[in-house]
């Protein structure tokens, strides 16, 4: 399809990679630091990193930061905002601010774990799929396409209804089951393009085993894509968790932003005029998801210099 003999794209792609990974040595810590700095250098991503940092801190230090316990329902019901309860109390008499702070734990946890798991699956499948040819590749191709096309949320709902009452673990599982395919596809196509690169063929000539080629030669060249797909999967996981909890298909006793919305809706927060009950958790979900999208801008820049602002050709 592409004109034959165009060696230019190939070279420029190599330059791209080397630009993204100056001095990226074998030391993984340095790779991570490098990646972080690259992301940090994009202003949008910087905002995202800061935002994400705030949420992670909230999650980690929730017991210290929250004025009250997350499930402490010893307060008056449906209170308006006051000095004692900055965001008021819920219909069950819990402090909204404390719940928001504790809720960060679930979202951050789900985002991180589900994002990580689906990225791992995506990497394993995407890479082997991209590297293998023949029947195995076709079968994986088919399965991935299936998972890509089947609408995720209905599938999640059906699976969630089956795996009922598993709490957060269940939600993570559901999100992972339905969320790995996109990353796998992206990584596959990148693997395919890297596979035809000379340095991969050269590794065959160096007598390397296929596994080593995939994991030592190809994989490190996709760091940016993997990081990108991690953040993408995390965003999706956070939104999916909230959606499932909102529908009441999760465990309504955990304190998360999704369940807060569920309870707010359940106790008709709108009717009692406590729009904060709906507004605050939803805003937190949006901001957390936004922070990930913003970070992805930096990751995009890392994998595709063209996306860096200002560069046109």
């Amino acid at each position: 399809m592409t004109p034959t003999g165009t060696t230019r794209p190939a070279t420029s792609a190599v330059k791209t990679i080397s630009r993204g990974h100056h001095d990226a040595g074998a030391n993984p810590l340095r790779v991570i630091l490098r990646a972080f700095l690259t992301i940090w250098s994009v202003p949008k991503a910087r905002i995202g990193v800061a935002l994400l940092g705030v949420f992670v801190l909230l999650a980690v230090f929730a017991p210290v930061l929250a004025p009250y316990g997350a499930t402490d329902n010893s307060f008056d019901r449906s209170e308006d905002m006051s000095a004692a309860h900055w965001l008021g109390t819920t219909a069950a008499g819990q402090d909204v601010l404390s719940q928001i702070i504790y809720g960060a734990r679930v979202s951050v946890f789900v985002g991180f774990v589900a994002g990580l798991l689906s990225t791992i699956i995506a990497v394993l499948i995407g890479l082997s799929w991209g590297y293998l040819r023949g029947l195995a590749g076709d079968v994986i191709n088919f399965i991935v396409n299936l998972f890509l096309v089947i609408p995720a949320l209905p599938l999640m709902i059906v699976i969630a209804a089956y795996l009922q009452n598993g709490g957060i673990g269940m939600i993570v599982l559901v999100v992972v089951i339905t969320g790995w395919a996109w990353g796998a596809r992206v990584l596959r196509s990148q693997t395919q393009s890297l596979r035809s690169r000379d340095f991969v063929t050269a590794a065959v000539f160096s007598g390397e085993s296929p596994a080593r080629i995939v994991f030592r030669e190809i994989l490190p060249n996709m760091t940016s894509l993997i990081v990108g797909s991690f953040f993408g999967a995390s965003t999706a996981a956070i939104l999916a968790e909230a959606g499932l909890e909102f529908l009441g298909l999760g465990d309504s006793t955990t304190v998360s932003w999704g369940t807060m919305l569920f309870w707010a809706q359940n106790s008709n927060a709108l009717l009692t005029g406590q729009w904060v009950l709906l507004f605050a958790p939803g805003l937190c979900i949006s901001l957390l998801a936004t922070s990930m999208s913003l970070i992805n801008f930096g990751v995009d820049g890392l994998s595709n210099p063209r996306l860096r602002e200002g560069a046109q050709r």
Binding site: M1, P3, T4, G5, T6, T7, R8, A10, T11, V14, K15, I17, S18, H21, H22, D23, A24, G25, A26, S41, R197, D198, F199, T201, A202, A203, V204, F205, S206, G207, E208, E217, P220, N221, R308, E309, G310, A311, Q312, R313
Partner: protein
């Protein structure tokens, strides 16, 4: 008054978050109506940047930071974008470096023309069809291409279409940015001919950007040589040929030779006459018996070769098995629905004797790389057999591949792509050592350093620690060669090992390959479309056309005395600046 007057022009790239790169540094020159000027210089010297600036196409992050370009009395820096747009008709046009990709893949060729006519309104509605047909006619294409999409045209046709499109603007200045780089030698030649004819007929001022000094000298009257953002020489073609002033120009010129000449000399490479003493004989004389199997390690062959540093003694054995290719064909199945199956290699037979050096030449797509893949076991032939000693390469299994690769190694075309940007030189070299030898730990490291020394990358410790992007192209190619040597192979297949390198780097790498072969006694299959380099490093030659061997023999003989039509056409396509020099006696 001159048509274009450039004064102190500087262009700088200001990428986000990176150091600004000055690409063009205060250049000044004038162009007159009807001039045909060449702009040469190695990759990255700022040729394209200058071309873009000349035609008002500089876009961020590029910025014209000083100087002026007066076109027909108007400073184009002062023009608003819409004025500039209007200027494009009857003003200046550019044919892009990657002309192959300059066409919108989803618009028909006709629409490309009509868009331009509509934008400038210089061709009335009913005349458009005729005008478009006339324009494609000028670049020697049939009017039927108008109905097609760029994906349906060959590279040469696409390049011609972009020239026709630029012509449709009736420009007074036309910049051709490497209009033929991505093309086959034969097509290249044809396109250059067309450009030359057009320039003569239409009398526009033309700037031809290229890194191929030979070609530029052949077609243009005046040549500007660019080096590191500066124009270091600006003279007529004849003057440059006769008396190059700048050392850089001299260097460029010295790397040109005519493969057809009786004696070809390029600095850094031993001269090769018609009857060059057979290297095989030399190797034998040097103490590496080729025909008989070596039972014990032979004494080191220390052959002083001027260009390469100390060549270490060969610890393995010299080549003793021949690769025998007999009646091999490779048919690729249909790729997409409409394609025909491609016969990439058609009934090819040859034997690569131990210690021999053989060139495989042919135009693009003639099947050279496919043969390389077949004899390295990367692909299996459709029919025919390939043997290497007792190994049947044509039916080799994945497990045996490693065994084959201890003996048969490959030097890749593009040193930029052949090294993983994330691994150090040491890693790249250690892997094959670990995989193919029993050396471990410090022994393996010593071997790696030895290899580096062999290819002349000293101080070895320093180079071992480097990452590919910290190496120059030539150095990278040396690493690639060192890697190929790591398994102590008997055969090296080099698939266009220098085509991605600048002239200045080419000779060194070729010399290294040549000396290694001579000293180590390995056999080499050298694949190229560049007849000059074939002439320089090989003794045997095989000419491929559409998958079949059309001519073979001793390199010098075949090139000086080609028998086959195709070989003759290939040779004709080689620019011959020296022979054209008398064209412009001045």
């Amino acid at each position: 008054m001159s048509l274009v007057s450039v004064q102190g022009l500087s262009v700088v790239y200001e990428p986000n978050g990176a150091e600004p790169v000055p690409a063009v540094k205060a250049v000044s020159f004038d162009l007159d109506q009807g001039d045909f000027v060449g702009l040469v210089g190695e990759s990255g010297s700022g040729k394209s940047t200058l071309g873009f600036a000349l035609t008002g196409l500089s876009r961020p992050p590029a910025r014209v930071c000083a100087g002026s370009i007066i076109f027909d009395g108007v400073d184009i820096a002062g023009l608003t974008p819409s004025q500039l747009r209007v200027q494009r008709h009857g003003g200046f046009a550019m044919v892009l470096q990657s002309g192959m990709n300059a066409l919108n893949p989803v618009r028909s060729i006709r629409n490309h023309f009509f868009d331009i006519f509509a934008a400038h309104g210089h061709v009335a509605g009913r005349d458009r069809e005729a005008r478009a047909a006339e324009l494609v006619g000028k670049v020697e294409l049939p009017a039927s291409v108008l109905d097609r999409f760029s994906g349906e045209l060959s590279g040469g046709m696409r390049q011609r279409v972009s020239i026709a499109l630029a012509l449709s603007l009736e420009p007074r200045l036309m910049v051709f940015d490497e209009p033929t780089t991505a093309l086959d030698v034969l097509v290249q030649h044809a396109v250059m001919d067309t450009i030359r004819e057009l320039q003569k007929a239409e009398r526009f001022t033309a700037v031809l950007i290229s890194h191929d000094l030979g070609m530029v000298l052949e077609v243009t009257e005046r040549v500007m040589v660019m080096h590191d953002g500066l124009i270091v020489e600006d003279a007529t073609a004849a003057e440059i040929l006769a008396a190059p002033r700048h050392p850089y120009t001299r260097m460029l010129l010295s790397h040109y030779g005519d493969p057809r000449a009786a004696v070809v000399e390029v600095p850094g490479l031993a001269s090769r006459g018609t009857e060059r003493a057979t290297n095989v004989a030399q190797a034998v004389a040097g103490g590496a018996p080729v025909v008989e199997p070596v039972v014990e390690p032979v004494e080191p062959v220390v052959e002083p070769v001027e260009t390469t540093p100390t060549v270490r003694r060969r610890e393995g054995r010299a080549a003793r098995e021949a690769i025998v290719v007999s009646g091999v064909s490779k048919v690729y199945p249909r790729h997409s629905r409409r394609d025909q199956p491609v016969t990439a290699v058609n009934d090819v037979s040859f034997t690569l004797e131990p210690g021999a050096s053989m060139a495989l030449v042919g135009a693009s797509g003639s099947g050279k790389s496919t043969i390389a893949k077949l004899i390295t076991g990367v692909e299996h032939p459709t029919s025919g057999t390939i043997t290497f000693g007792d190994l049947r390469i044509d039916t080799i299994r994945r497990r045996q591949l490693k065994r084959l690769h201890t003996e048969v190694q490959m030097v890749f075309q593009d040193p930029y792509a052949a090294l993983n940007p994330l691994h150090t030189v040491e890693y790249a070299l250690t892997r094959p050592v670990l995989n193919y030898s029993s050396l471990r730990g410090r022994d393996a490291r010593r071997r790696v350093l030895e290899l580096l020394e062999t290819v002349g990358l000293t101080p070895v410790e320093q180079f071992a620690a480097r990452l590919p992007h910290q190496l120059s192209g030539g150095q990278r190619q040396r690493v690639v060669i060192a890697r190929a040597l790591a398994s102590d192979p008997q055969v090296i297949v080099a698939d266009e090992p220098v085509s991605m390198l600048d002239v200045s780097l080419r000779a060194g790498v070729l010399a290294l390959l040549d000396s290694l072969r001579e000293t180590w006694g390995v056999s080499m299959l050298y694949i190229t479309h560049d007849l000059l380099s074939a002439r320089l490093v090989t003794d045997q030659i095989m000419v491929l056309n559409q998958g079949s061997v059309v001519e073979e023999g001793r390199t010098a003989t075949v090139l000086q005395n080609p028998q086959d039509d195709y070989t003759i056409r290939l040779l004709d396509a080689i620019p011959a600046p020296r022979s054209s020099a008398p064209r412009n006696p001045s």
